[in-house]
């Protein structure tokens, strides 16, 4: 089985809110000294792929579209024991247009493919758009199984456990297909072994320049700001609890909450 996992390097979503700053003119978040990590669901996707290969067989290639620094994300994926890594290198930070990102990835996947399974995280940890997986599936003409937590194979049938609004379901589908992965107890990303980290640092990463893409036709960010929230605290008078409740109801009606 030939497997691809598409990952994205993002600004650490766990940083303190105070360390999160945006540049309103550039309409982008400011990285500053904040760390870069692999988007969380993408790590889950890689973990599902790794577990599948361990139980069955296959070769995993990780793809990312981004600037030179994204190499760190690929090295980490290699340390987790992906076999190959491809950096679709842009000279400028990839924008927020998921369609464009999807097209770039699809081109890369076509060039290195065909792949039996193409994995994505269900959505990126920064934009939370959740579009890229579907776009790539469309571009490559593959069926898409979304919100997958685990993959099992019996004989030549592949089963996908997925989370739905109603609960969980098991889907049988035949590759080639695209898969988006959501987090689950069973797919917590592994900690790499030190020897694998050192090996990963010596591995060759294939880098392919995609240059600077033209401005997006599909999407434009008009303005970007951090929503401000003001908290006003008011103590309600009243001797008896019943008085206080009445005052509270009044207040809530005044502010049109009720």
């Amino acid at each position: 089985m030939k497997i691809a996992v598409c990952i994205k390097q993002i600004m650490d979503p766990e940083i303190s809110p105070r360390d999160f700053k945006i540049d309103a003119d550039a309409k982008n978040a400011v990285l500053g000294k904040n760390p870069l990590v692999i988007s969380t669901f993408d790590e889950n996707a890689l973990e599902v792929a790794l577990q599948y290969v361990e139980k069955n067989s296959g070769e995993i290639t990780v793809f990312t579209y981004g600037v030179a620094k994204s190499e760190d994300a690929l090295r980490k994926a290699l340390a987790m024991k992906a076999d190959n890594a491809v950096l679709l290198e842009s000279t400028k930070e990839a924008g927020w247009d998921s369609y464009q990102t999807g097209k770039v990835l699809a081109e890369g996947l076509k060039k290195h493919g065909p792949f039996d399974l193409v994995f994505f995280g269900r959505q990126a940890g920064d934009s939370d758009a959740g579009i890229v997986g579907a776009v790539v599936a469309e571009e490559l003409g593959l069926p898409l199984v979304s919100f997958v937590t685990t993959i099992n194979q019996k004989d030549d049938k592949v089963f996908f456990d997925r989370v739905t609004d109603e609960g969980r379901e098991r889907v049988e589908a035949s590759p080639p297909l695209a898969v988006t992965v959501t987090n689950d107890e069973g797919n917590t990303p592994r900690i790499p072994k030190v020897k694998d980290i050192m090996m990963a640092n010596r591995k060759q990463i294939s880098k392919e320049s995609v240059g600077e893409l033209p401005a997006s036709d599909f999407m434009e960010i008009i303005s970007l700001d951090i929503p401000s929230s003001d908290v006003v605290c008011e103590f309600l008078d009243g001797n008896e609890p019943a008085d206080k409740v009445n005052r509270l109801v009044e207040k809530l009606k005044e502010s049109k909450v009720l």
């Binding site: 766990e14 303190s16 360390d19 990590v37 917590t188 900690i191 030190v194 020897k195 980290i197 050192m198």
Partner: protein, 653 residues
Amino acid sequence: MPTREIYWNIDAHALIYLFFAMALVVFGYGIYIRYKRWVKGRDDVRWDQLKTRLKLVNRYALGHARILTDRYSGIFHLFILFGFIILFIGTLVVMVHADFNVHIMQGWFYLYFQSLTLDIFGLLAIIGILMAMVKRYLFKPARLNTSIYDGVIFTALLAILITGFLLEGLRIAGTNDPWALWSPVGYAVSLLFASMSQVQLEFWHGLLWWSHMFLAFGTVAYIPYSKLMHMFSAPANIFFQSLKPKGQILEPIDVETAETLGARKLTDLTWKQMFELDACTECGRCQDVCPAFAADQPLSPKNFILDLRNHMHTQALEGEEQPDVVGLSIKAETLWACTTCRACMEACPVFVEHVPSIIDFRRYQVMELAEFPETMQEATRSLEARGHPYKGTQASRTDWYRDLEVPEMANSSDVEYLFWVGCSAALDERNQKIARAFAELLNRAQVSYAVLGSEEKCTGDPARRMGNEYLFEMMAKENIEVLDSYEVKKIITVCPHCLNTFKNDYPQFGGNYEVKHHSEFLEELLEAGHLNISKELKDSITYHDPCYLGRYNEVYDEPRLILEKSGGEIKEMDKHKEESFCCGAGGGRAFAEETGTRINHLRAEQAVDTGASVVATSCPFCMTMMEDGVKAKSEGVKVLDIAELLAQATKKE
């Protein structure tokens, strides 16, 4: 001239040399099989600084300095040890006198030493053994496990001593010894035989003489096959102890060239780590002081050592096929229960070094297998990505001084001290108050200092104690680079873990600084009059010694002095200073789920039981643990850092 007839009533006594040679062969073989196992360990140099080492042997082996911390056990051990040493010398005297024909056993020496002293020490040895038996069989302390072999040893030793006195009594009775009163015990025994005929006396004497000899030689031969081995291995282990600073118990690994990272098989340990397994006397003092054991967690430092010993003597130690220690002889959960508090190492009378071995096995689990508790994995990921172990913290490193005047290194010049805040005091909401209080004190005393602010990263202490030496080394090198860029020479910190890392770990990577804990620094400021008490505290305070400040770096007095000078009345917990009981946060445990009782609840109970109204500490990790524990035990008792207390006491009106 006073002396006695030697080998009275004994024919062919020279045979004893034959029997002794036989005993020595059995003895030597026993030592040899052990030796063959020890030397399978990795290299380590533990015989440098001969003079210091001999002094330590004198103090701790002959002088019993640690054994005597349990007075009763110390005394009986002294009686037994010196009883047998003196009797052994007495036996040598006989040999020299009778068989080498150097006549020393006569005159005053015969009376004072060979008769009186030997009798007294023989009697003391008997008393010592009886005391030991009372302790083991009647009081049955939980730390001792008793097997049939303990009975064998007691019986053998007692039998040697008793047959010795019976022989002396029989000889006195049989020879009408004119100097009998110089051997008071032997003389008293001889009175028992007053009614015996000469023939009877000679018969029993002959029988007992040979029995005594066989018992003694048999016991000598038995030494290397039993717990008695400790009479050699324990002093040797005291000799081979680490002479490095107490806080420096871990060695770096060359990650690039090491065959195995950490210990998989037993022989991945050093010969010393293997040797000390045979030095353990099974006294269980380590278990008695272990916080994890007290909290019913899956670790007894004693059993850890004994399980390894058993592994050493029963498993193959050759080649790569030899079995993994963890899984077979040691449970993985045992490794993760250790808080690295060093209480076991401080209590061990023979200087077994438990913690470094635990960390060596952790290293393999973490670096080679990547198998360790999930919450610790989370902390590790965070250390890697964010430079601190707290995933999802709401604070940034500069938050705590937003409204304070705290200079940053990047915007200062000619700063004398770097105030290293540490992750816990910078990022934990409660502990930010410690950093604030200390900064206020520094400002008040007009100290030339600055912080690194957003350039500060974890020292790597949790990574190292969790066994991730690779990550630790990277973090250490990165930090040393930052410190070098500001030419930092002097560091003060409010965190004993950071303190220990700078002081004892970083020199291994070329980072050498003058490092002080805030308790030491504040005490100096007080002493020099840079801080003045304006408002005495008038609280009764109990002080919890952080392990990494106390046992690791031997700072016990300064925090107490600060509390006293601030007007606090100190009420000590039973377990304090060297015997302090860990809060449960060390060794990466701050980031692990606890099973069983919580260690911090045990410690909080001890603190609350003093009746003090304030629990003081001087470590942000202890703060988190103690506050959580004290809240669960008692309302109204406050937990405060010494810096917070001193800031209160020196506040200007």
